[in-house]
Symmetry: C2
Amino acid sequence: MVHGVAICMARDACLRRYSPGMNRYQLLADALGRRIEQGLYRPGERLPSVRALAQEHGVSLATVQQAYRLLEDRGLVEPRPKSGYFVRLERRAIELPRVTRPARWPVEVSGWEPVRELMTSTPDSVRVQLGRGLPDTEAPTLAPLLAGMARLARRPGNAGLSYDSIQGVAALREQVARLQLDAGCVLTADDIVITSGAHEALAIALRATCQEGDIVAVDSPTFHGVMQTLKGQGLKALEIPTDPRTGISLPALELALEQWPVRAIQLTPSCNNPLGYCMPEANKRQLVALARKHDLAVIEDDVYGDLLYSYPRGRALKAFDEDDRVVLCSSFSKTLAPGLRVGWVAPGRYAERILHLKYIGTGCTAPQPQLAIAEFIAAGHYTVHVRRMRAQYQRNRDLMSAWVQRYFPAGTRVSQPQGSFLLWVELPEACDSHRLNRELLAQSVQIACGSIFSASGKYRNCLRLNYAQAQRPGIEEGVRRVGEAACRLLDEALPRSLATLA
Amino acid sequence: MVHGVAICMARDACLRRYSPGMNRYQLLADALGRRIEQGLYRPGERLPSVRALAQEHGVSLATVQQAYRLLEDRGLVEPRPKSGYFVRLERRAIELPRVTRPARWPVEVSGWEPVRELMTSTPDSVRVQLGRGLPDTEAPTLAPLLAGMARLARRPGNAGLSYDSIQGVAALREQVARLQLDAGCVLTADDIVITSGAHEALAIALRATCQEGDIVAVDSPTFHGVMQTLKGQGLKALEIPTDPRTGISLPALELALEQWPVRAIQLTPSCNNPLGYCMPEANKRQLVALARKHDLAVIEDDVYGDLLYSYPRGRALKAFDEDDRVVLCSSFSKTLAPGLRVGWVAPGRYAERILHLKYIGTGCTAPQPQLAIAEFIAAGHYTVHVRRMRAQYQRNRDLMSAWVQRYFPAGTRVSQPQGSFLLWVELPEACDSHRLNRELLAQSVQIACGSIFSASGKYRNCLRLNYAQAQRPGIEEGVRRVGEAACRLLDEALPRSLATLA
């Protein structure tokens, strides 16, 4: 209860949430919407008259009427003939983020520092880690994997101590190929190269298909690791508008491909990071056809693909690939544990170059975790574990969404992931997630700032939250702190905005 | 004894060892030298007269006299006044390889296929592996490391399963910094970035210091992994003549630096791979001064440095580095086990760029082996293990050298490594190690062909042998097969050569 009171006070403080650059009626609408959010006006209650509000805020009657019309559009209020405006009885569900509108031209990737800050944090430096892409690695269904690793370490003539073949342990490649049938991909062990996580797979796939200065089309927002890889390899990102329900906009992509000499398309079509959508299969098929038409490589990141909440998981882009142009990259970092550093790539037509790049990048991948994972899959433990995690993550998604709805400022939009364990949160425009993150770090809470998912620093008002371990003690409290800090930031934005209003 | 006879017969078959392109007197000298090697003429025994040999081979008296003088130069025969030529009583020790004479201009690196063949071989495909750089991982002094790994796997809240910080586990970085005092380097944990083996360290060091098209000066022969990295990154290799006793020729390097716009120097100055030398400290100091004068980066590969047979190990180049231009790369692959995939880099002035490249290359390094190695070093096990391995490898070097002397063709030269577990063998010119390797693979024996240690396919008559496990059953037999195959190859070269002689 003490918490509850604290929240109410914090929310009260950001009652007057305004944003610079907005019109007066918008500012007024936001202020009213905020009061409704906070329960100052209950559902069904009559709202102040147009005249009263005009007097209170020193604005014209027309401005107040425009504000009410906006709130009507937002589903917060309803007019009743000859009685004025009332709070709607049934509240609209929290909205999805908007279709993104990134820059329409290729850009060089900026912003290494915030990624570095996120990636060099440790459990010692951050108590509540909501920013990184960590799965829950404490599930009991992982126990056979750990037992296997312990067994391998003690096995005489330890095969895990030697160099591996560049391509990776054959037994694991066989299991990977077998699992890919679920994603509609017909692969053999020979079609797979094991890598040090999907990170290495994506990096060598980009290097194998592109040369310095080339343009790569990406879904937007997209995984910050890929953004930094583009930066490091001197590639330009052409960010394509993306729908939080269906993924990369195919008409926008087609237009972009006609306009720019794009070399490759890189995207995460299944359980997207950070937006959580799965591209409909028809879209996947169409995207591969588009790549064929323009003779482009497609680099598919499928690390979250097996974590789709519904079963079966649906086909990968690679399943629609008729001429080996799709480079499928994945790993066990999200399904099992990232610390294993075991990923893989199905390099298609780029096999020879990718094998060379794998060799010069890291020589080979550590064999012991490969052997342990191969045994784990072969014994059926992988299927059991992933099934459990899917259910857990789905429950956690609903929990985390509810917390965001409860603690975050009104006007916050949030993704509805179909898989994985990552939530994308779009705060009101005035809220800068970098400032938010700095404030939160002082409280030992870390989020992933939205701008690291963009080549050009867009999505500053967005953030990504990890809900893999949402049911653990302290996580709700962490999310509450994020929400409160966001409210405070919006509140601070008020004085500047009031000046424009008054 | 059956083996002994077989060897004699094989050696008899290559009695007449000739090489195309050689003069008649050289061919004759080789044939005679061969007979001496094979014991047809014993030490102190009188050799055929000049006249008799001229008749036997259908050559002039002058040709025979030239041949004898050559053998005298080689220390095989001695003239006695008025009595003719005799086999020298005390045989000269086996000679060191010659100072190398690589191309004098920057070249693009060729030859991925033989490296690929070596690196994709597995224990199933090759029974006697003499080609790869594997240490002996079966020493009992490694047991505490394996026990530690098993313990870590079973520890609740397994820290090894999570993402690590990009820079690596702090506890390990501290231990690495401490160990570097032996190499004369004063480093702190903050100066170290953990990598997936030295392979990744070298690759990101080259990328951090060079751009596509740049020239990198290297010792020659040099590690094939670096050669392939130069190739993959579009860099040119400027191979510098190298002395098998003292390493890279500083006068030659200085001349090259004046002539070419070199961007960086990459070398393995301590327990060189493949030649086994240690650069004298004065040379190391002078090399760093040269790099300073020309404002170059130095990329030092020190993976074998701790395996110097004499104690203390001697200083690294990095110890002479006054302005942070030396990037020190190393790993635990040669001292402990390559399958751990734990290496590190002290990036000096290139720290920020190297951290970025580490992130985009593999994200982070697996934490579990890092934690296990940190515990292993902290408990004092590393020192004990490395001391044991140094002694073992030194004994094995003498064993392997003796086998080469026993089984290989006369005129074979061999390195005298001061550390590590790799022997460089220079066969007579006519012997092509690629053909040799193909023949040997049919017998399930693999060697490393010399040309993979050159940018331009030089050293075709050379090979590298691994003696880490020389005392294991089957290794001497494997080396014997290499020697026999070399003799056969030389023998096959005979008919063509005889045509020129006859």
